[in-house]
């Protein structure tokens, strides 16, 4: 066996750990740091937005000024200096393109490195991709095919121009501008994001997908996603995120709103792999995200699946408001933390309609010196007769310096409803690994098998390609953290 020099070994380990840590050389349009009304007006002006959109932003900004950054999550970090952030960052080449041929080749090369099927030739994969580079959407593929089905899938900026009535009707309808500190900030400064509208009775003919990438070390990323499924419509949406390695922290404060009308079905999957910082906890993304969906009509269904592996600090609770009778909310989550990462994540299921059902499956994996918290709220309203919730919250600890915490909150005002909660904590054991090694599997394979087994119920909710990617991602992240 050949031995690597220490430097080589360190380099190999580092690059395996976070292989997306490269930056793309781009020129950026100048934009001043800090936030005030003028900045917001300038963002809106550059994007050529209608008056109502600017008003929405300004209103949100005034709310934000009165709000405090939340202290209740179980995480510790140096709060960002909001005056030092660049709130709008776009590559200098004007990125609005009709076809991919016009997109800056540097950006395309970056997405190729990330393994994103941006090229139309990859049609066979049947995935339509919207890619958000720093703040600006650079390309949306498969527009034509989707348009034939009546599906609108484009950047939110484009939607504001082309479908203002839809955006105006739904934006802020699930997450009001004053919902929380980060949602208010996002509402004031959001730069781009994805928009999807599936009309009545249409099954979206392909998976929709967005890749987010932060490239500029001083910019925040504030995407805004809005998905609407009309009566009986169906859509499955995937979201992936990566960022280069910087020794400073970048703020990512996104807002995602989902609206499902009667009998509609929205499935939203995320594989989050923002840069987590180095093994000493330096750098990494602050991932403060508000995601919420509403089952507005009867028998609507919203399902969140997330695999959270990156970010220095994560604060995220994809939630469902079950307003329609017999509506269904689901939350499947794997959250992995290593080194000094901290995650406080979970969900809220708000049962308002009759016979509404929700399922929560949360799998937390903590390694290194990381802290991993599940925080959940199941709320059953007075009129939600016959509603049911089932929650499972499993934690796995790797090593003895990490922590796993669960904060399940339950509020029920209806005694015909039932809430079931199970929680377990286990430790990945030397004996388990030895057993699998004795069967010829090397340590890495053994750990990957154990972790996969642990996360199985969540992975089976992911589209196959994503499940494979998620599996690989987890084993890379955990390499060397056992034993």
């Amino acid at each position: 066996m050949s031995r690597l020099t220490e430097a080589e070994a360190v380099e190999t380990a580092a690059s395996r750990k976070y292989k997306y840590g490269f930056t793309t050389k781009m020129e950026y349009e100048e934009f001043p740091r800090g936030l005030n009304e003028d900045i917001i007006r300038e963002i809106s002006r550059r994007k050529n937005e209608p008056e109502w959109m600017l008003e929405f932003r300004i209103k949100a900004f005034h709310h934000w000024l009165t709000m405090e950054e939340p202290d209740w999550p179980n995480v510790n970090y140096q709060k960002p200096n909001y005056d030092d952030i660049i709130y709008y960052s776009s590559p200098k080449e004007k990125p609005k393109k009709e076809s991919l041929d016009e997109v800056d080749p540097e950006i395309l090369a970056t997405y190729e490195k990330l393994g994103i099927p941006l090229h139309e030739q990859k049609m066979l994969q049947n995935v339509a991709v919207d890619a958000v580079f720093d703040s600006v959407s650079v390309a949306t593929t498969f527009k034509k095919k989707l348009a034939e089905a009546g599906v609108i899938f484009c950047s939110i900026s484009e939607a504001i121009q082309e479908h203002p009535e839809l955006v105006k009707k739904y934006i802020g309808s699930v997450i009001p501008t004053n919902d929380n500190f980060f949602a208010a900030l996002n509402s004031a400064v959001f730069s781009d994001g994805s928009f999807c509208f599936v009309p009545k009775g249409v099954k979206c003919p392909m998976e929709l997908s967005t890749y987010f990438r932060i490239n500029n070390p001083d910019s925040g990323q504030f995407e805004r996603t809005l998905i609407i499924a009309e009566e009986g419509a169906e859509v499955s949406y995937l979201e992936g995120c990566t960022a280069p390695m910087f020794d400073t922290n970048q703020l990512h404060a996104a807002v995602v709103e989902l609206v499902a009308l009667e009998d509609a079905d929205i499935k939203y999957s995320t594989v989050q792999n923002w840069y987590p910082g180095d093994e000493n906890g330096v750098g990494g993304i602050f991932n403060f995200v508000t995601k919420r969906g509403i089952c507005k009509g009867d028998r609507a269904k919203i399902s969140w699946t997330q695999v959270e592996t990156g970010s220095a600090v994560t604060w995220k609770y994809p939630s469902v408001i079950l307003k329609g009778d017999n509506s269904v909310g689901e939350f499947y989550s794997v959250a992995l933390t290593n080194d000094y990462q901290q995650a406080d994540t979970g969900t809220k299921m708000i049962h308002l309609g009759k016979n509404t059902r929700s399922t929560i499956i949360s799998k937390g994996i903590s390694a290194g010196k990381s802290q991993n918290s599940y925080r959940g709220l199941v709320k059953i309203g007075k009129k939600a007769d016959g509603s049911r919730n089932y929650s499972v919250c499993d934690s796995m600890l790797i090593g003895s310096e990490c922590g796993a915490h669960t904060f399940p909150f339950i509020e029920s005002s209806n005694n015909t409803s039932s809430i079931e909660h199970e929680a377990t904590t286990s430790k990945i054991g030397e004996d388990q690994i030895f057993y699998l090694q004795q069967r010829g599997l090397d340590e890495e394979q053994a750990i990957s098998l154990i972790i996969n087994g642990f996360c199985k119920e969540v992975f089976k909710e992911l589209p196959l390609e994503f499940a494979v990617e998620a599996t690989k991602l987890l084993s890379i992240k955990l390499e060397g953290s056992v034993g």
Partner: protein
Amino acid sequence: MLKIIDLHARVEGEEIEILKGINLEINKGEVHAIMGPNGSGKSTLAKVIAGHPAYEVTSGQVLFEGEDILEMDPDERARLGLFLAFQYPVEVPGVSNSMLIREAVNAVRKERGQEEFDPLEFEDFIIDKLKLVEMDEKFLDRSVNAGFSGGEKKRNEILQLAAMEPRLSLLDETDSGLDIDALRIVSEGINKLRSSENSFMLVTHYQRILNYIKPDKVHVLINGRIAKSGGSELALELEDQGYDWLVGDAHVNGEA
């Protein structure tokens, strides 16, 4: 096949030795039984041979086919053809039994330069092995050992043994926990797997399994040392008289 020379081992980081100078040689095609009172070090011996990281070898050698394996990782040893059937098989929730066995079989096949099985080929392959230990197919889809009864776990170990086709098998109390019929079935299965090319080390407390699988040699392990070795008749003697008469001997041997 296996040669152990003056092997001393202790729990990693502790002072007290558990194995205090073991010498043992098992030739190709032989079956050796290891007996001895509770806590005498039988499982420790098996785990040290297999490379369990909780134990530290302080001196001595373990040669497998002439090669010292003490520096090897447990998985390298396994792929060379060393198999340990655990006294307490470990549960792996969420991982299907067939998935584990397929990965295990493919790991050794790769090592031997054979083509790896795809899922369909594997299915044909494993059905035969299931028959050998008369196990129901439904155990393939269940999570590894999770919720298995004690006897089912033991039988599952032998299924894995049959699938991996090792050269040397260490069976740690496979007979404990098996009912009378299961003991016969498992023993017959093991007998079918025996050949002039492979060897077995059976750790057991009971003479009964040795009626089915006749050992070439029986060793008595007491307090970390082999106190006595003999032929298969030694097991009968122990069944009659217990271990008391050997305890003194062990000390004399060790201190001499």
